[in-house]
Amino acid sequence: MKLTEKELEVVEILAKNARLPLETIAKMASLSIEETEQIVHKLEEEKVIVQYAAIVDWRKIDGHEGVTAMIDVKVTPKRGVGFDEVAERIYKFPEVKSVYLMSGAYDLSVVIEGRSMSEVAHFVSEKLSTLDSVISTTTHFILKKYKHDGTVFEQGDQDKRIVMSP
């Protein structure tokens, strides 16, 4: 769908920080509060904005460190439904955080979050590998997140400017 300039402006502002007060967003985009509200509502209705979620550094929370794995999955596509059917079978598992169809050496890229390595291993061997269309899996565990969805986790970005200048 084609967005107006103002709608695009509101999406971009929200994509950077979804918690800004409506009033602030309105001012930034030079809109009235009502207009802004209408735009946000429309974007939500049309599922342009799918969800508002926080980016959490789980490592900082005791007992919630968890593990994340990226799994390369090779599958046999099925006549008529291609990759969609097997992708759906995979993404319905709640521990699956994302599923992408890829070009290149494998077909599906699956991101899994679990409490421990053994939990992830269990999922791969019991659930994923046993699916009919799955030919092979390669599991990579993430060791450290430096940057996620455009956000740098450990930011040392204090203002280095002198306090006043001409």
């Binding site: 920080n17 001012k27 030079s30 006043m164």
Partner: protein, 389 residues
């Protein structure tokens, strides 16, 4: 006999007024938890691709002098940048000079043209360096006071009112520091008529040219017949967020430029080499980063200026730079009193308008090149301050 250092100092230097910003700087720097809207530079760090290009040049050992005028590759990039973005053509071999910040380019331009006693018109409120630079070059600064009622736009007849037989040049700055005012093509054309009529030269400080938010920018050199009468001064500090690199440039017809180059080669030799390599990358691949920064400034401008007006500090929507210049006349305070009380009571630092000239009295300069969170907090504190007055 007593030895008194002061007797050895140049009278010109002794008589220069110290910058009015200094006192506020010292005060603000001594306090904790200050939100500073007094900073005249971007809040972005230089983009990584530029920093990386500079690091690479150091790793490869490019640490020697460059040609006096700057690396030819950089001058060629500057020439095509000026042509692409502002539609003015300069020969990179004879009409472009890479300088240590736009400040040095201004200094060179003034020194290259001023004979003792020549008058140079400065449009106030203005950047704090113009008048001292004219004085140091042996000229006589003549001020024009623009008015808040005109959104601080220079009116052509104001120039005519101060012309004398000694008038040599006019310093223009659009977008303007401190007012953020941008002169559009029509307004520049009207000024160009006066420039022609009185045979003036224009030093056009276009350091904020990249940062205009509502209309496409017009360079004074792009106005008909003005290229030959203009020394265009610009740089990388503001648009490319490269203040600390100290890199600027001048573009002018070769006779002006060669005169400036003569001073430059004896006083500076050349601009820093590693910074020049960074600047090449900025011009080649930096357009997207500039665009992103511009978007961010524009949103913050809209937010901040509307907030100022809502709290009763009336402010025109500035078309460029990253400054808002609201009137504080309704408070009954002078700009210095306002700035000092706001700093002491609410820890928000702004620059009193009088620092930028007589017509800046009754106004304060607030830079909105601060994070949105900081601006929101500043707005809260300023509102609280105003309700107490």
């Amino acid at each position: 006999m007593t030895y008194r250092t002061k007797e050895y100092l140049s009278e010109t230097v002794v008589n220069l007024k110290p910058s009015g910003i200094r006192r506020f700087f010292d005060l603000a720097a001594s306090m904790e938890g200050v939100i500073s809207l007094g900073v005249g530079e971007p809040d972005f760090v230089t983009s990584w691709s530029v920093r990386e290009a500079c690091i690479l040049s150091l790793e490869q050992g490019y640490t020697s002098y460059t040609a006096n005028a700057g690396l030819l590759e950089l001058r060629e990039e500057i020439a095509s940048y000026l042509l692409r973005n502002f539609h003015v053509g300069y020969d990179p071999k004879t009409e472009i000079l890479v300088t240590v910040g736009a400040s040095q380019a201004l200094d060179l331009a003034l020194r290259a043209i001023i004979n003792p006693g020549d008058e140079v018109i400065v449009v106030e409120p203005s950047f704090v360096s113009y008048i001292p630079l004219v004085v140091l070059a042996g000229g006589i600064p003549v001020s024009i006071q623009t008015s808040g009622a005109d959104e601080f736009k220079l009116q052509p007849q104001q120039i005519e009112q101060v012309i004398t037989s000694k008038t040599k040049a006019l310093i223009l700055c659009s977008p303007n520091n401190p007012t953020g005012t941008v002169l559009n093509k029509k307004e520049l054309e009207a000024i160009s008529e006066i420039v022609k009529k009185y045979d003036l030269l224009v030093i056009s400080d276009e350091i904020y040219a990249e940062l205009t938010y509502d209309e496409a920018y017009t360079s004074f050199a792009a106005i008909e017949e003005m290229r030959e009468r203009t020394i265009l001064v610009s740089g990388f500090s503001k648009g490319f967020a490269m203040t600390g690199w100290r890199l600027g440039f001048a573009a002018a017809p070769s006779e002006f430029l060669q005169a400036m180059l003569k001073i430059h080669q004896y006083t500076m030799m050349c601009a820093p080499t590693m910074a020049q390599y960074g600047a090449i990358e900025a011009l080649k691949n930096g357009a997207n980063d500039v665009e992103e920064m511009k978007k961010s400034y524009r949103r913050r401008r809209n937010y901040f200026v509307q907030s100022l007006n809502e709290m009763g500090l009336s402010c025109h929507l500035p078309g460029g730079a990253f400054y808002a210049f609201p009137s504080i006349k309704a408070t009954g305070l002078t700009s210095e009193q306002f700035a000092e009380q706001l700093l002491l009571e609410e820890k928000v630092a702004v620059v009193p308008g009088m620092v930028f000239g007589e017509s800046g009295e009754g106004y304060i300069r607030c830079s909105y090149a601060s994070s949105l969170e900081q601006l929101q907090e500043a707005v809260k504190r300023m509102k609280r301050f105003l309700t107490r007055l």
